[in-house]
């Protein structure tokens, strides 16, 4: 397994979220093999990596949706032992990669479920961002198009003002014009909340990231300010292409 | 799992297959008590007849045919000469067939009485079949040609057979009858009650048993059928008296008449006295089917005495027209169709303290008076 890079940890600003030596298992396979990651408060950290390295699993581990060991600190508290719903109730918004909208519920009901006890939902914001959803509140979410479902999923994540946003490939399946809007919203959001996101669209990553972390085979192997990604992403590409899977034409 | 010993000539094996759990659990218990009492009485406590030890084994068929039949085969295999017991007709009928196939005697007690009367020389039917005969008597003498009877029953073999066996004696006295057969799953009887009310019958006869009974009665009562027609039915286990009595309601009970297969205390003979004391010792309350068990015991003992233990055909033959005294009174096994002719009792229901109900004797009939015509004789 790869060592958590302690090198940067000294001049680290205050952290919103910290993972130390997190291991996760799915069925019999050992998926996360000692993930260590620091997520600075009110910054956007982008998690990069090939398909299947464990990006999503990392997010699910944070939320306690997979069997995991190791230390996970959120806002000063160790949440590794907590129930998912308690962790989320601490102020986390989650946008899963495969949308996971409730097909049998209407758009309105989907949003109603997302409303956090105590907080005041920002319907205006999400409806302004995705006017389509307002039109469709009475329709079953299952009848929405792929992109519309992605919108609904994002809306659920943005509805409450959260301490931390976990967004897994938020722009997947969205029309470019919508992607742009989403990016802007996340940018604005990053002002008051911490964002940890997985993104395959390098343009989006480049635009949003304050920090990037690269995963290979269930471990974080590189974490650094996004600057270098902006200048030349060669270095990052180097990491990304570790154990390149697809032979395709190149073979 | 007993009697693996195969059973030498000195022991005679009797297998009792009954639903110790499930629908017939109460009757099975009564039957067992009666059987044991009877054997004990008739063998003077020795449980041996002419030096042949009687070895009784009991099996619970749980009301499931595959279980019951497996038990039957096991008992036959272990050398049983007699099978008996009270159980569901879907078990009793195939068991009877097993007995015949393997040439042993089957005494089905109350089970499948219609289907098993007159089927084979080795199978000895049961008294209930002539139960309907009593109603001709119950209707009293005089000119009945103007009288009408409405019949309510469950729409399957039993309900259908009961009606056919009822019609014969009724037609003899020119009583016209209508039948109302309903699916067993019926849960609302108001409509049929209204129909019956409209027919204005003088008598209403019900063979409805089990779930729905009380609802049927309540519906008839609500539609006011009992104000104009006399209810006629029969009583089985004591547990059900209260529910029948209550459901019929004051008016209904007042002119309702029931047939009863055993009226405790009527015969008062030695056999009954013995049964009573025996039951008391075993903390059992003598019931409808105690005599059924006793009768089985009587036939078993007689068959051994008169027919030995080797040739079941001979043993069976010895029971033809055999007459014995049971706690009910005098009982005869009619040779023609192996119907067991027993006394019958016409009773009313009367409410006692709390919700205890007891039958009150109206008239008793001897087994001779109760002898129906032979409808399906044994083909020999």
């Amino acid at each position: 397994m790869s060592p958590p890079d302690t090198s940067l940890s000294r001049e680290e600003p205050d952290l919103a979220l910290e993972l130390a030596g997190v291991h996760a298992y799915l069925g019999e396979s050992h998926i996360l093999q000692g993930v260590s990651l620091r997520v600075p408060r009110h910054r956007v950290t982008v998690l990069l990596g090939r398909n299947g390295v464990g990006k999503t699993t990392t997010m699910r581990a944070i939320l306690g949706l997979v069997r995991r060991t190791g230390r996970i600190t959120f806002a000063g508290a160790d949440i590794a032992g907590e129930e998912t719903h308690d962790i989320v109730a601490r102020g986390i918004g989650y946008v899963p990669e495969d949308r996971d909208v409730f097909h049998g519920l209407t758009v309105g009901e989907n949003l109603r479920l997302a409303v956090r006890r105590g907080g005041q939902p920002r319907h205006d914001l999400v409806f302004e961002l995705f006017p389509e959803l307002k039109k469709r509140t009475k329709h079953l979410a299952g009848t929405l198009s792929g992109g519309q479902q992605q919108m609904l999923s994002l809306a659920r994540g943005l509805l409450n003002d959260n301490e931390l946003l976990l967004v897994d490939e938020p722009t997947k399946g969205l029309a470019p014009v919508v992607v742009r809007e989403v990016v802007e919203v996340l940018e604005r959001a990053a002002g008051q909340t911490t964002v940890l996101m997985v993104e395959q669209n390098l343009a989006v990553a480049r635009r949003l990231a304050d920090h990037i972390a690269v995963m290979v085979d269930g471990a974080v192997v590189l974490r650094e300010p996004a600057g270098r990604l902006a200048e030349d992403d060669g270095a990052v590409r180097a990491y990304l292409s570790v154990g390149s899977a697809v032979s395709g034409a190149s073979s | 799992a007993s009697g693996s010993s195969g059973g030498g000539s000195d022991t005679v094996k009797v297998g009792v297959i009954s639903s110790q759990t499930g629908t017939y659990s109460v009757q099975s218990a009564d039957f067992r008590d009666g059987l044991e009492a009877g054997l004990n009485y008739l063998t003077k406590g020795t449980n041996t007849v002419d030096g042949h030890k009687i070895e009784v084994t009991y099996a619970n068929d749980t009301g499931q045919a595959p279980v019951g039949i497996a038990k039957a085969k096991a008992m036959i295999a272990s050398g049983a000469k007699f099978l008996t017991g009270i159980t569901d007709s879907s078990i009793a009928i195939p068991v009877a067939q097993q007995a015949v196939q393997n040439n042993i005697i089957y005494l089905p007690g109350g089970s499948a009485s219609y289907q098993l009367t007159g089927v084979n020389p080795l199978v000895f039917g049961n008294a209930n079949k002539n139960g309907s005969q009593i109603f001709q008597k119950l209707l009293g003498g005089g000119d009945l040609s103007k009288k009408k009877l409405a019949y309510v029953g469950q729409d399957y073999a039993y309900g259908q057979d009961t009606y056919t066996s009822l019609k014969v004696p009724l037609e003899q006295v020119h009583v016209t009858s209508t039948k109302h057969l309903l699916p067993m799953s019926t849960t609302n009887f108001t409509a049929v009650a209204a129909q019956i009310k409209a027919e204005k019958p003088d008598y209403i006869y019900s063979s409805w048993a089990g779930a729905g009974t009380d609802q049927l009665f309540a519906a008839l009562r609500a539609q006011g059928v009992f104000d104009t027609s006399q209810f006629i039915g029969y009583l089985i286990t004591r547990n059900t008296y209260a529910s029948i009595g209550q459901a019929l309601g004051p008016k209904g009970v007042e002119n309702a008449l029931f047939s009863l297969y055993y009226y405790p205390g009527f015969s008062g003979n030695a056999e009954e006295k013995f049964l009573m004391t025996w039951a008391a010792q075993h903390k059992h309350q003598v019931e409808y089917d105690d005599p059924t068990g006793w009768n089985a015991a009587a036939m078993i003992v007689h068959a051994i005495q008169a027919g030995g233990t080797d040739d079941t055909k001979k043993m069976a033959a010895s029971l033809d027209d055999y007459t014995w005294t049971s706690p009910q009174g005098e009982v005869t096994m009619r040779a023609a169709d192996h119907a067991e002719l027993t006394p019958q009792f016409a009773v009313k229901l009367a409410k006692g303290a709390g919700d205890t109900w007891t039958p009150q004797l109206v008239k008793a009939y001897t087994s001779k008076e109760m002898a129906t015509a032979v409808t399906d004789p044994i083909k020999r």
């Binding site: 396979s29 990596g49 090939r50 398909n51 299947g52 198009s145 490939e169 399946g173 014009v177 992607v179 | -």
Partner: protein, 254 residues
């Protein structure tokens, strides 16, 4: 309608209404054999619905669907597939409880369903598995061929979808956002893959895709859908310069 009749795939005056909502409006479009057409358009424009109607998972309210000059408007999905139509799905739609290998094999054997063949073992001999593993290798999943499809990561499921498409050896291929969720690193090689398939087998490909650069790279022609109707059908270059397309779909580049 000359165009559609000569075409490998043609739809004429296609309309789809689902409880009151007009989802497709008089869509007419012909794709020539060996052509690669990209379909773009805002979310909810009707792209997936179009593929559904063409592949037969939805029945058109009116209009005709033609495959290789045959009218299949009233045919079921299976029949269309046997006429050489294959498709992938927007959100991976696989046999999750079966292994990767079994998934691909099912796709491969779908076209040979003669009664007698059905009673033979599906074949696990090297010979039988050869081509299948070949396809898996091309999408980089050969290593996990014995894993359950349900245990694949998201992006890998997209790749498996492509492998199924390859294995079906369809002459007409509908791809619904094949690149969604594929990591940026593998994009080029998968694009290569699609181009190869198209070139080698002369397959006709209709590809819904939001990755505009993928579209520019691969498509011969681009169909733009908007509110259920066909807004434009033209070369990539002309389409991206089209004003309506710009503000309805593309917007400013990031």
């Amino acid at each position: 309608m000359l165009r559609t009749e000569s075409a490998a795939l043609g739809v004429e005056e296609l309309s789809l209404v689902i409880d009151g909502a007009q989802i497709l409006r008089d869509v007419t479009l012909g794709v020539a054999t060996g052509e690669l057409v990209a379909v773009i358009g805002p979310n909810g424009a009707g792209k997936t619905s179009l593929l559904n109607v063409v592949s037969g998972t939805l029945r058109a309210t009116s209009g005709r669907v033609m495959l290789h000059e045959q009218d299949v408007t009233s045919a079921g999905p299976a029949r269309r597939a046997r006429l050489g139509l294959g498709r992938t799905f927007q959100t991976s739609y696989l046999f999750l409880g079966l292994t990767v290998l079994e998934n691909v094999r099912l796709a491969r054997q779908a076209k040979e369903q003669r009664f007698r063949g059905l009673w033979r073992a599906p074949g696990s001999s090297a010979a039988a598995l050869g081509p299948i593993r070949e396809h898996l290798a091309r999408v980089g999943l050969d290593g996990v061929r014995h894993d359950l499809a349900g245990s694949l990561s998201h992006g890998d499921r997209r790749k498996l979808e492509l492998a199924l498409m390859l294995a079906s050896e369809s002459t007409i291929v509908l791809l619904d956002e094949p690149m969604a969720g594929v990591n940026s690193e593998d994009l080029p090689s998968l694009m290569e893959l699609i181009r190869d398939v198209q070139r080698d087998t002369d397959a006709t490909i209709v590809m819904v895709e939001h990755h505009i650069d993928v579209v520019m790279e691969l498509a011969h022609r681009v169909a733009v859908m908007h509110h259920g109707s066909l807004l434009a059908f033209d070369t990539p270059a002309n389409v991206v310069t089209n004003a309506t397309v710009r503000d309805a779909y593309l917007g400013e580049p990031l």
